[in-house]
Symmetry: D3
Subunit: 221 residues, 6 copies
């Protein structure tokens, strides 16, 4: 029977924020079928948040080193929207299938609407995202990307004024042609369903999107 | 708490084969978190298999009519690799998010490898798939598509000679540059994990891929 | 001698409007060389107008059934801008070459200018057109598409206020970079030449474009 | 009434071959509706055949000068597969709509099949054609292009051995995925219909394709 | 030793302006390594400036004829932003490597930023540039192109009001996403470094870009 | 006067091989105009060669740290074909223009031929290169990439058998449509000119290509 083999999906948050790691664990909990374990870890030696290109580079090495130092899971997810370390994980001999949450979030949005938009938390991350979208070959389906500088992912779920900013950005992306919105940061899962209901758009949390894809990867093991 | 609201994901197999519908139900069973129900239905009035362009067109209308005739689920999946009815579902006022298994299968493959291949069961379905891939805007990542005429999805799981044909096609797609293989037909989930192990490639069952994406759609309702 | 074999080109209007069918016949009449017959038919059982995705799907089946029920022509045209039934006609064993008026209209515009625009009569048809343009692989040459909700194709030719709306939409598309305008609905041929003269842009009636291409298909039979 | 205004379509063969010019006139004769005149001219001062890049450049200037020296027609066609002078005609103040036969041939093929192939008469013209296809933005639909060095367009219609070479090239392009074949040289119209019948593929003569498009341009004047 | 063989790089300005030719020579002088000679020539029989499509066509033939009438250099550059004659030079038997300054300018900009913009001196040259960009296959990286009608390249370097117009156009392109600006005309090298300093953007003079690439072509001869 | 300000271009070889660094210095020496200094440095703490994805990641951080620890040059080049650290350099506040040799090599090839090929020294570097090419948006112009496993860049210049392997790979790429060959590794400059002469193809050394582009960047400072 496919379901009988237990499977572990490792989710690595490359920053050191315990709150973010706990938020991820809470977000994927209701998606967990019997027999599957989502192991959510942060990197204590990582930065508080991944914001610069250097954070991405150093975070990627941290992700690789974490994987090497533990027993191999059945699938691994990089839970930061810049997908730090994804290429390193994929090139690692013997590593399990690796899923990046940026890639998974964007690809899931493509399954829900003709065109997608991204809400970023930093203006300077947008060129990095656009380079990744070009590399993925899906640029023809991008409606636009908007940044909300000064907004933290965590605040979007507890501060109504912050939520209102996010909601307005999503609505604006909708007016620019997006039918699906990708939340461009790990840690915004708590507002996903509410934002979808408020805007009438599909809304994708990238970590949940990656977690879902990983379930299909371990299906039938 | 996100998990407390029960959610129903409707999977419509547009053909009349009870065996195929049961196979789909078995494939998604181990992916089912508590509180989520996958309702798998076939269309008794549909053809035994969706093979011609006319089957696709008529099947699409059948899918739409089925949705209209029942209580609305929280998400709906068309479980045939030609995605019959997907555009109709998306244009239906008040319909839930609709996921096509072809789109979901291809997009999930893109999350696992640089380039993907497809194993089709019919030579004449390939142009249809290629048109869809062009429409999706992801053609730059297709390695190739191969057909296995005369092979049935169901037989791939119980007949070693048939399985060997599928395995060889997957290996050939790997040699042509594919790092992930999409099984181009609903009903091949039973061989997914084995084929991945035998070839060293990522292997995607399109219905499981769509089911996984739907889990993220209903997450947090 | 190439010209001596008579040829019949069937133009199927998938809606039930006799006025639209007659308008098509009038539009192609001056394009008819000796020996060629354009047979223009409507589908009495079709909807009054093709406006929803469901209309497109059901209209496509109607188009296929009409072709099957009559002697084979030398070429066949689907005369509705959503090209209903085009894929069905092309997949039909023994069917003659099939030309869709959306495809023909867009491709003819590409022969006249670097970039094209489309005037649609319904906002909700635009995503459908954009998916087709993506599938055709010619999206890099689209300037933009504008909808004129509430305008009927037929009215554009007899009501100056309606014509003025169309003219302004064409001029706006010109300002957005379009050098050729595709009239996104069968039935607007009467204003084609006037609109070209008024705007200085190339203007393409999709049915006339398809009719012209069909002439080349039957040339020399 | 649309048909009452006579229209003249000028077809300029930029080489000096009287036989080619006469062949063009014969090819478009059966496509001529009452009231339309196709005026076919060659350039006596042009080369016997357009084969080098320099021929294309000088031929283009010859085409422009010819247009300037005569009364303006209602549409103008450059009848050489390298479309010499097309950009010059389009930039000329007050010039009528200009159609290039390469563009028209390729675009007409796109209306008949998912992918097209080209039969060229010279290996060195292929890079030139590929640059044009890239410029047109339709490269994703090219199956392949094959050259038949040493074959003349004129010979294809009277020499069975030459015709057999063309037929085999078309069939090979079909095996490589082309559903429509563009004859990559003016002057092959006599074999178009036969080649289509022999191969089961759509076959496009570029001059007839351009002539057909021009009919739609002058429709309703 | 690679450096011991002297190399000559021929830069052909296809217009007759002695001032432009001298400006090019001055611009490349500081880029000249020992042993390399940049020979800068104008075409006395050419137009004062290349502005129309016809100028481009006739200029191209002039460029070819100039090359034929002199000893072969080690590399040749067409120093006009429309790259007149580039295809002719490349097709010429025995000709040295040919570099067009439009191509070189754009490609160099791509090495400096994710997206580029162009400042053109004539509105009507923009469609010509866009066709070239499409042909080059790099359109996904164009931010935008702006024209400064009435501005001459030469005036940009001596008239502060003209320079201010150029600076504002560059800044506007920056706001539209360009990280690198290509000066769309030979003869603006004198303002390149100042404009880069003033705007914080990379600024590319196309002739210097082509000259630099030619240095790599003759390296190690 | 433009030439009077001295300029320094820093070339960072991210590996620890003194021979490679010296080879780079020798290659750019003949390209150096008066007043310009190419400062070539290796990273003693780097790996002997950059071959794995991890080498690229760690090398990139080494490149960034090197730049930070020294006076700012006028331009900086990463002299390894994987462009390690390029994104880090570009994101560094106050850093000079940064040029990657992979990008520069490919873009220079695009200025010399319609399609390019790459000779890689490792099979596993090819997917990394292809991802970069996709990110650059120039994939439509890639003919193919071939690997020469077991060949070292340094050996290509002193061992005739190794050179013969490289020559045959270049010729094969030419047969597959490449008109320009990019040497996919720093350190092969010594064979560039000979390989071009032997194959009749344009051959690009990526470091020399980057050095040339940097000359244009510092022109006129």
């Amino acid at each position: 029977m496919p379901a009988t083999t237990p499977a572990e999906i490792l989710i690595i948050n490359p920053n050191s924020s315990v709150a973010v790691t706990q938020g991820i664990a809470a977000a994927v909990a209701p998606m967990t079928p019997p027999g599957v374990t989502f192991t959510c870890v942060g990197l204590p030696e990582g930065p508080a948040t991944i914001s610069t290109q250097e954070d991405v580079a150093r975070g990627g090495i941290g992700v690789l080193e974490h994987l090497r130092a533990r027993p191999r899971p059945d699938a691994v997810i990089t839970a930061c929207f810049s997908d730090p370390g994804l290429d390193l994980l994929r090139a690692e001999p013997g590593a399990p299938p690796a899923i990046g949450c940026q890639e998974a979030g964007i690809l899931s949005a493509l399954a829900l609407a003709d065109r997608f938009g991204i809400i970023a938390l930093s203006e300077r991350s947008i060129p990095r995202h656009l380079r990744k979208i070009a590399q993925m070959g899906v640029g023809s389906r991008l409606a636009d990307e908007l940044a909300l500088p000064g907004v933290s992912a965590e605040a979007s779920g507890r501060d109504e004024a912050v939520y209102a900013l996010v909601r307005e950005a999503a609505a604006e992306l909708g007016r620019r042609g997006a039918g699906a919105i990708v939340l461009g940061c790990a840690g915004m899962a708590p507002i996903r369903a509410r934002l979808a209901a408020d805007t009438g758009l599909a809304v994708v949390d990238p970590v949940c999107a990656a977690a879902a894809m990983a379930l299909a990867v371990v299906q039938g093991r």
